[in-house]
């Protein structure tokens, strides 16, 4: 892991000399996006009750413009439609209503300007790490340029010495870094990351967050980052949106009406941010409340003796 930091620290970022289309980052505009899925067939449902039932809304009325180079974090409870929104942005799924524009032009299927980092590494087990990263290369790139780019990316994510390993021979954190490198190999104008660090241990996650910041500082692409981790959002994002149902507090995942943007806030201060700052603590409380988590804020002012007795009990 320590070589991640060393690979980045000498700030000559190797990645972005790789192609002519460098330092491009595109705006992403969501216009009234809605997505419904066909209701699951209920095996135990009463006969005659709503056969071929109405579609189940997951997202509705999501309108949002992400600026070029902006890092947007998408927060929400599990199952609220974060991945669905990201998959729509990546052209892997189509919205039921509304439309998406990238750099002003309508998104039509999978787009070479976007790259996706999935929650799971999703590396091809029969390819080496280097060959997996090469999968992300743009198709028109030449062999020599492609190899150079892969080598530079492996250096960036600290996997040079594991280039010839198979995915199953490396740790989860390394696989996730390879997955990030594969997404970066496209030199994407929009980087879509779906809980990319969710499965990692806490320490590795913090290092990966720093790595992502370094990558973004080196080549400021637009990043849409889905996360369920409020602190991760606060640490990485310029702006945070919270997905959920806005009309019914008991219905956090928007099960009946579909989720939409219920909070949107701009995170103050440049990155990297002090992970312990008081300003962020206030935002954290608001976001946690929005996620339906009791912030336990009242305890702060109250004398500690009420909960933790002092020595001569």
């Amino acid at each position: 892991m320590s070589n991640v930091a060393t690979a980045i620290a000498p700030a000559a970022p190797p990645v972005h000399r790789a192609g002519p289309a460098d330092n491009t980052s595109f705006a992403v505009e969501f216009a009234d996006i809605g997505r419904s899925f066909a209701a699951k067939p209920q095996h135990n449902s009463q006969p005659g009750s709503q056969r071929g039932a109405a579609a189940r809304p997951v997202l509705r009325d999501v309108s949002l413009t992400v600026q070029p180079g902006e890092v947007l974090a998408i927060l929400g409870t599990s199952g609220c439609g974060k991945s669905t929104l990201l998959r729509i942005a990546g052209g892997l799924d189509e919205p039921s209503t509304g439309s998406i524009r990238i750099d002003g032009s309508p998104l039509n299927g999978i787009d070479a300007r976007c790259a996706v980092g999935f929650q799971e590494p999703r590396l091809l087990p029969w390819r080496t790490i280097a060959a997996n990263v090469a999968l992300g290369l743009p198709h028109r790139i030449g062999r020599a340029a492609g190899n150079a780019r892969v080598a530079a990316l492996l250096e960036l994510v600290g996997l040079t010495s594991f280039a010839d390993h198979r995915p199953r021979a490396v740790s989860g954190g390394m696989a996730q870094r390879a997955s990030l490198a594969r997404a970066l190999a496209r030199n994407p104008g929009v980087l879509l990351l779906d809980e990319p660090f969710g499965a990692l241990d806490a320490l590795t996650r913090l290092k990966m967050q720093d790595l992502l910041l370094d990558v973004h500082a080196a080549a400021p692409t637009t990043i849409l980052l889905v996360t369920h981790d409020v602190d991760e959002a606060l640490q990485l994002a310029d702006r945070i949106i919270l997905l959920g149902a806005d009309d019914d507090a008991d219905d956090m995942a928007g099960g009946r009406t579909g989720a939409t943007i219920v909070q949107e806030l701009t995170v103050p201060g440049g990155r990297p941010r002090d992970r312990g700052s008081a300003e962020l603590a206030e935002l954290r409380g608001r976001l946690l409340a929005g996620l339906g988590i009791d912030r336990h804020g009242q305890a702060r002012g109250v004398a500690a003796t009420t909960t933790i007795p002092h020595f001569p009990y």
């Binding site: 892997l92 790259a115 999935f118 087990p125 999968l135």
Partner: protein, 277 residues
């Protein structure tokens, strides 16, 4: 046997290092495995010989091993043994190559395309249910007594195991990997060669292995009913004139050659599994 290393003097260090130094189980070492596999055939040979020497069966019912060997020598002196083995092997290999290639193609089509699945799978399933011998009269009438009907029947036999395993395996390729491939701009034939095909290679090879076995089964069916050469012909001819020694010879040859071809594909399978799985 497996407990010997534990009985070693229990200094803390050796207890730990004893494990990797421990001898591999006999079932995973090469020499003993080959020897172990040869044990039962040798025992059968022994029982066979004994039952004849002890007069338990008459040599008209069951010729002795020496008589079978003599039959082999006799046939090979007349140049028939190698001819029969060669012609049968050739039919199997050609038919297998044709059937297996068609099986991969049809399996890919049905496994990848929903509409091909709807249109083709029921028919192929029904054809698969036809027993091998049922084809023989039809093929003989249509294709005559030359090589084509035999090779066609072998190809039919080799087709189905490959078709079935490939189409099933393709349907169960990890959809997350396929989606990742698509997300990076792969589609159609490029997606197939980069993600789906490598993912099913281990299944394709086990399908090939089954197909080879089935190819030999169908070959004998073809040669039993309409051939003038080959091991199946040897069987039917010897059945007609009561040469039990030659029948046994043909059976032993089929077993040995079938096992050898299977072992060759097995080696290939091991290599491929290491490379692709």
């Amino acid at each position: 046997m497996t407990q010997t290393p534990i009985a070693a003097p229990a200094t803390p260090g050796t207890a730990h290092t004893a494990r990797p130094a421990r001898r591999a189980a006999w079932t995973s070492r090469r020499g003993p495995v080959i020897l172990g596999g040869a044990l039962l055939p040798l025992a059968i040979l022994l029982v066979w010989q004994l039952s004849i020497t002890l007069g338990l069966v008459s040599v008209t019912q069951l010729p002795s091993p020496a008589m079978v060997l003599l039959a082999a020598v006799d046939l090979s002196e007349r140049g028939l043994l190698t001819l029969y083995v060669a012609i049968s092997t050739q039919r199997v290999l050609i038919g297998f190559a044709i059937g297996a290639s068609l099986g991969v193609a049809a399996g890919a089509l049905v496994g990848l395309s929903r509409s091909a699945n709807v249109l083709l799978a029921p028919t192929l399933g029904a054809i698969r249910a036809v027993p091998s011998l049922a084809w023989v009269p039809l093929l003989l009438l249509w294709l005559g007594f030359g090589e084509q009907p035999k090779i066609t029947l072998v190809a039919i036999g080799a087709f189905f195991p490959v078709y079935t395993t490939v189409s099933l395996a393709l349907r169960h390729v990890d959809q997350q990997l396929v989606e990742a491939g698509r997300a990076f701009g792969l589609g159609g034939i490029r997606l197939f060669t980069a993600v789906q095909l490598p993912a099913v290679i281990p299944s394709v090879i086990s399908g090939l292995r089954l197909a080879l076995v089935q190819a030999w089964l169908f070959l004998v069916a073809a040669e039993l009913l309409g051939a003038s050469m080959g091991l199946g012909f040897l069987l039917s001819e010897s059945g007609g004139n009561g040469r039990i020694d030659r029948i046994i010879l043909a059976i032993v040859l089929l077993a040995v050659i079938g096992k050898i071809t299977d072992a060759v594909v097995g080696i290939f399978e091991k290599w491929a599994n290491k490379k692709w799985a």
